[in-house]
Subunit: 345 residues, 2 copies
Amino acid sequence: MELDNRKVVILTTIIKNYLETGEPVGSRTISKYSGLNLSSATIRNEMSDLEEMGYIVQPHTSAGRIPSDKGYRFYVDQLMQTQRDELDDVRSEMFQKVDKLENTLKTLVKALAEDTHYAAMVSGPTVHTNKIKFIQASIVDARRLLLVIMLEGNLVRTATVSLDGCEELDFNRMLSINMLLNDELDGLTGSDITEGRIAQIYARTSFKKTVGSILAAIHNILSVNGSNVQIYTSGATNIFKYPELSESDKASKLISALEQKDELIELVHDASEDAEESRNPIQVYIGNESPLQNMADCSVITANYELGNGLRGTIGVIGPKRMDYEKVLEVLNKVMNEMDQAFRK
Amino acid sequence: MELDNRKVVILTTIIKNYLETGEPVGSRTISKYSGLNLSSATIRNEMSDLEEMGYIVQPHTSAGRIPSDKGYRFYVDQLMQTQRDELDDVRSEMFQKVDKLENTLKTLVKALAEDTHYAAMVSGPTVHTNKIKFIQASIVDARRLLLVIMLEGNLVRTATVSLDGCEELDFNRMLSINMLLNDELDGLTGSDITEGRIAQIYARTSFKKTVGSILAAIHNILSVNGSNVQIYTSGATNIFKYPELSESDKASKLISALEQKDELIELVHDASEDAEESRNPIQVYIGNESPLQNMADCSVITANYELGNGLRGTIGVIGPKRMDYEKVLEVLNKVMNEMDQAFRK
DNA sequence: GTTAGCACTCAAAAATGCAGAGTGCTAATT
DNA sequence: AATTAGCACTCTGCATTTTTGAGTGCTAAC
């Protein structure tokens, strides 16, 4: 069977209507709102075909139809085509009064959740691809150093380094170590710090133990190791607005997933891979397409942002399958552009 | 009427039973489990008295009784007395592998939620009472400084300071400013930085604009201003375990309150005041006793911890009114001791 | 003072009934 | 051949009723 034009119109009508109401949609409704001027009986025949082809399903006999995952997928793919060449450079005030990326992200994710009425998440850039801008180790007391690393995007990371078993330090020695570190590591990313590079640094200092501890700490901060990825979420309670998500224990599982974040890290990871592969920064996961457990009833839309210089992260919106794809795609596009603009300099 | 011994036993039995089951408890149940060897009829008479005295209520005629807020209060006060002189120094592994207070708190709140099966929160110490241990300003580029402040408890705060309109800086000038700042501010708390002190600092430098910007940033970080209080929460979804909290839109409001945190800040504030006033670090808020909106059906137990040197914060557990007060009090006591032990050095 | 017994009450659960929306099929129409 | 009207049937959601069971208050007996 072929998906001719009329079937497409009917399918789209079903989906749009269902997105609005959340109720299964019946033949009579379509005959009224599709603009096709067909009777409900004809529509019924077509719907029967669409069901056979797998685009829609009946929650139970004698109910209207709702889109299947395949149906949503068709709809979204159609949207993506028209969406792709749309350009929107509305300036928002979101990026005005922030000096650190962390704060921007927190503000952003909150705004996103409020704007879309879905749950939103954003991952801080995975630091292992960020270039080191500035390193500063300072003596706190006899046994500890405070290590501060500033990365592209004014991202600051700190750690304390234990000096047990290391060389005695004084101010001038500390100074020379700092100069050495900045000299050697400036502009590098976590993955640039190779064995060879480390050997080279060792060769230039006599405080091998201290420098060793510091390098270990730096490595720890910049490692790919997932626990370093910052994830901010907001608007988790928005899911209560959608009965199909808040019933029984679904809400609990969902909110728990948003709270725990380890699953989200996986999502971010997958999303950035898929984005690269398909050369489209925006990805849509419908139901079980997403790597998340307990999210079979959700859709997830992710956008991978890039702030020049390899600074990358992921924004995402999580909502019911019947989310307003059109709007969310638009908003995410806008946000991506904004971030681009704001940080390009 | 007097609350004689038998009434106390009956009341306690009612409460304990209700804590377990969540169902109103009837006279027959008590006659079986109170250990008093009285018939249900006698119990009924006593219950009638207890109701008149306001310790228990009937959700509707011909239902069992449930404790009123006054009843809970009586029970908790009784517990507090026995609890007070209990000592428990079980060593946990919670505090082993952390070097920064932030991480400790995150781990702690998670463990607390898992352990109690209620929602848990912990506030980072209010930094305005923390002593400054170490200040370091570094030149990032021509227009910006990175300011790092380390406070008691290895608490690190960073900020970027704009240099627009300030004096030209080089390495040596920066050095002298740092020395000046550490010299003047070491060991002070936010509230110690008075007008007079600032004037004194100005008198000792010729880079007045730069130092002014830095001091402003420091003041901003250390100000009482609530937005600086860090609050971590965990286990929000535990409330779904208690039907009386998860019904209708209560769950949504509760989780939203936990997510937004501004109400929690208020709670922390109140809790520390009440703790000081009553000279008891542990406070119990039953129903409407708590300052939180939307929490009339919850109880909140808070514990104010202190890590020597005036470093203070609040841990809290939020659960249904029928929470296991005994256990939570015990756990909080233990945690308080642990924190004491771990950070005393 | 305590207990047994009975009539009464009420909420929750189960059963029942009904209206409405929707379908599939067939026969009539275009 | 495609479309439509019509009808019998199914299923849900909702409201109403019935049933059940737990629990009480009261009175009379112990």
